[in-house]
């Protein structure tokens, strides 16, 4: 295979490489044959105009005019939802005169309010199809948009992205074996469909036959922090006002319901008054459903009275971190002032939240960020006691807060939920038991497959290394 040496680090690269795969230096300007100049399109030219404000050398035109120039353009922002393949084609450009870049200019607010319009898009990391061969769709590149950096910094950024961040499938379709070696050149996250199918079949089998097979031992391990959470809730007196900050929605309900429900059941069993607020649009709806399930579960074995007064729905509070301190300073200010909502205001007042503040705050969040936000914006104001109920992935990031005493307890992940339920010493219904057994078996199989895949990946990596 033909190779060329990098002028910066001196190492070999494939002849058609745009950047040095070792250090990220632009090779294109030295290597691009003049033939590329004939392949110009208006669109590419427009992309090139935005690219590389700082260092255009004498032959920058050739670099910019290369059809792939847009691919290396860090300022080429990606909008969501994805536009179609034709939209990006040169053919469409001539017809409409509005390439993709123009489309993004049509909507100045689209990027400004991007947080609203760009949900966490798992597809972005692993989309397939011919369109996605454009590395400009890589999420990593959107990070660089708007940055005004020097050539050296750009080079470093390119190298960093080339190595560490996942890119779309087929982002480097022409990469030779040298560059495709992950440890050296970084091939980005390329989906391995066969692995996904193995996992799909494994999990399906585990669910189908999970209720008949033993799940193993006495359930999952109890991580530090759970015991303290249980003890603290167990010591609550009836009618204590508990503020519940509901920071997850339907997207993560599959995991979070498993951990939130036992804790809510415990609170209902202790006959505390729950005041539920959320900053996610889907939060209140999910909260209603989980609390209804928990009420049903609490009523069933003990025939306990769970009155409607125990749950007060504060609702949706927009404004993000900027409005969150309101819950610490004046919780009643978050309520509507319309006469139609008087009843809610009265119940809020009855709960004693306006005078004394909550006895305990339960932050139920899928992300560590939401717990941190509460601890930064509300806890310093009301000095409240906080227990976090979170997704498994948020657990390590919240350990420092548990250690410093800002959190008095931490329950995380499906394993945390399962362990918490064991602490409640209550019996589940048959249907619940069967479902729990299925899900535990699914976890066993999923992690088993993951371990196998890690082993396989290492063997493949070591073999590739030996061969090269």
């Amino acid at each position: 295979m033909a190779k060329s040496d990098c002028p910066h680090c001196g190492l070999s690269n494939p002849i058609d490489a745009q950047f040095c795969v070792h250090c990220g230096t632009i090779l294109a300007r030295a290597q691009l044959p003049s033939a590329h100049a004939g392949e110009t399109t208006d669109e590419a030219g427009a992309g090139a105009a935005d690219q590389e404000e700082a260092p255009p050398p004498a032959n920058a035109e050739e670099t910019g005019n290369h059809p792939d120039a847009r691919a290396s353009d860090p300022t080429y922002a990606r909008t969501w939802p994805h536009s179609s393949g034709e939209e990006e084609d040169g053919g469409e450009v001539s017809g409409e005169g509005e390439p993709q870049i123009a489309a993004s200019q049509t909507d100045p607010l689209l990027t400004d309010l991007g947080g609203l319009l760009e949900p966490a898009d798992p597809m972005a990391f692993a989309s397939s199809g011919p369109r996605e061969s454009d590395p400009s769709r890589s999420p990593s590149q959107s990070l660089t948009s708007g940055l005004n950096v020097s050539e050296e910094e750009r080079r470093q950024l390119r190298q960093l992205y080339a190595e560490d961040l996942p890119t779309a499938v087929g982002a480097n379709p022409d990469m030779g074996p040298t560059t495709a070696e992950p440890a050296v050149g970084g091939s980005g996250l390329q989906r391995q469909p066969w692995l996904e199918w193995i996992l799909l079949l494994g999990l399906t089998g585990a669910l189908l036959w999970g209720s008949q097979t033993p799940t193993g031992g006495n359930g999952p391990h109890t991580l530090p922090g759970l015991e303290q959470a249980h003890q603290h809730i167990d010591s609550l007196t009836p009618n204590s006002p508990i503020l519940v900050y509901w920071a997850y929605d339907a997207a993560t309900a599959g995991e979070m319901d498993l951990v939130a429900q036992p804790v809510i059941e415990h609170l209902l069993h202790k006959r505390t008054t729950l005041i539920v607020v959320s900053q996610l649009p889907g939060g209140p709806a999910v909260a209603r459903r989980v609390i209804a399930k928990a009420e049903e579960s609490v009523r069933r074995p003990a025939r306990a009275q769970v009155t409607a007064n125990q749950i007060i729905e504060g609702g949706f509070i927009p404004g993000g971190a900027a409005s969150l301190p309101l819950l610490g300073v004046a919780p009643s200010r978050t309520l509507p002032v319309d006469p139609g909502w008087v009843e809610l205001r009265e119940r809020f007042s009855l709960a004693g939240l306006t005078e004394t503040g909550p006895v305990l705050t339960l932050v139920i969040a899928a992300r560590a960020e939401d717990v941190r936000r509460w601890l930064e914006q509300v806890q310093p104001i009301n000095d409240g006691t906080v227990i976090a109920v979170t997704s498994a992935v948020a657990d390590p990031a919240l350990r420092p807060y548990l250690h410093s005493g800002q959190l008095v307890g931490l329950v995380s992940g499906w394993d945390g939920g399962s362990a918490y339920f064991r602490r409640l010493e209550r019996t589940r219904s048959i249907a619940e038991q069967v479902r729990t057994s299925r899900l535990t078996n699914g976890q066993n199989w999923g992690i088993g497959i993951l371990l196998f895949v890690i082993l396989l990946g290492n063997v493949a990596g070591l073999t590739e290394r030996r061969l090269t």
């Binding site: 200019q105 002032v337 319309d338 909502w341 498994a392 479902r435």
Partner: protein, 296 residues
């Protein structure tokens, strides 16, 4: 379907089940490959999501908190006390300005001539309020909620009143001096690595491919100027940063394991929906009985 929509006719319940299954299947078809159906599902989801958020923002926030009280007494601004003006009228005016400016921006791009410059200028006021409050709470929250308590806990200073909430006993108090030292060492190491260290890949590559790190630059400079104490300091920082980097790697491994548990839970919950929840529904039972009847 949840009991919250049970007030609707049975046909709607069935339709909801079918629609939910359809959208789930179309989106899940992305596993096979990116296809039209997957996009269809995503567009329906986004459309419904935008509609739902709009309803929530209007019916639960703006109408009962702002518009309803103002509309019920439109002339209240003449007689209302200062507090009411501050709570209702002023945010209403700011919000309307934001909308007007936003619509103006939608109609014409920022660089396009024409349009009402006044509207655009006035729309900056509510945006500035929002950004200003955000920056203010961000900075003060970072200090009060993270920086101060975490530094206090890292240094194991007796700042219980600040660092702990309620009657909680921080775990820091239970640690032996060795563990405390290790903790401090690692926290310091991570900070040094984040501030001075290079990207994590340095030690895993052959020496020829390494680029000089920030620390190594300083080291070379120190050696050049032949200042022994500075060289020593840089070396210590280098070793300390290395400890921090390794602790970060270890933490990354643990985070990955927890991530796997979290994501597998989501996948399992969805598969459980396809395999057990849908077949348990009445509609499915009827359809299944009909299919079996036709088969026999």
């Amino acid at each position: 379907m949840s009991p919250f929509s049970s007030g609707l006719p049975a046909a709607m319940q069935d339709a909801g089940l079918v629609l939910g299954l359809f959208i789930s299947l179309t989106i899940a078809s992305y596993l096979i490959r990116d296809n039209f159906l997957a996009r269809l599902g995503q567009y329906i989801l986004v459309g419904a999501g935008l509609g739902y958020i709009a309803v929530l923002a209007w019916r639960n926030v703006l109408w009962p908190r702002l518009f309803a009280p103002v509309i019920s007494d439109p002339m209240s601004w003449l007689t209302a006390p200062e507090a009411t003006l501050l709570k209702s009228w002023l945010p209403l005016i700011l919000g309307l300005l934001m909308w007007a400016g936003g619509v103006e921006l939608l109609r014409r791009r920022p660089k396009e001539p024409g349009g009402s410059q006044l509207l655009r200028l006035l729309a900056v006021v509510p945006a500035a309020v929002l950004v200003g409050v955000g920056l203010g709470v961000g900075a003060s929250g970072a200090v009060q909620g993270t920086l101060w308590p975490q530094l206090a806990a890292a240094l194991q200073t007796p700042l219980a009143a600040v660092a702990t909430a309620g009657d909680a006993r921080p775990a820091a108090e239970e640690a032996t001096w060795l563990v405390r030292f290790i903790t401090l060492l690692i926290t310091g190491g991570v900070l040094i690595h984040l501030q001075l260290g290079r990207a994590s890949g340095a030690s895993g590559r052959p020496p020829a491919q390494r680029r000089p790190s920030g620390l190594k630059d300083s080291e070379t400079a120190a050696q050049k100027h032949d200042i022994p104490y500075r060289t020593l300091t840089v070396k210590i920082l280098h070793v300390w940063g290395g400890i921090g980097r390794r602790a970060l790697w270890l933490a990354a491994g643990i985070v990955f394991a927890r991530l796997a548990a979290a994501r597998f839970s989501l996948a399992l919950a969805r598969l459980d929906y396809f395999l057990f929840e849908v077949p348990r529904s009445e509609l499915w039972q009827i359809l299944w009985a009909a299919v079996r009847g036709a088969g026999s």
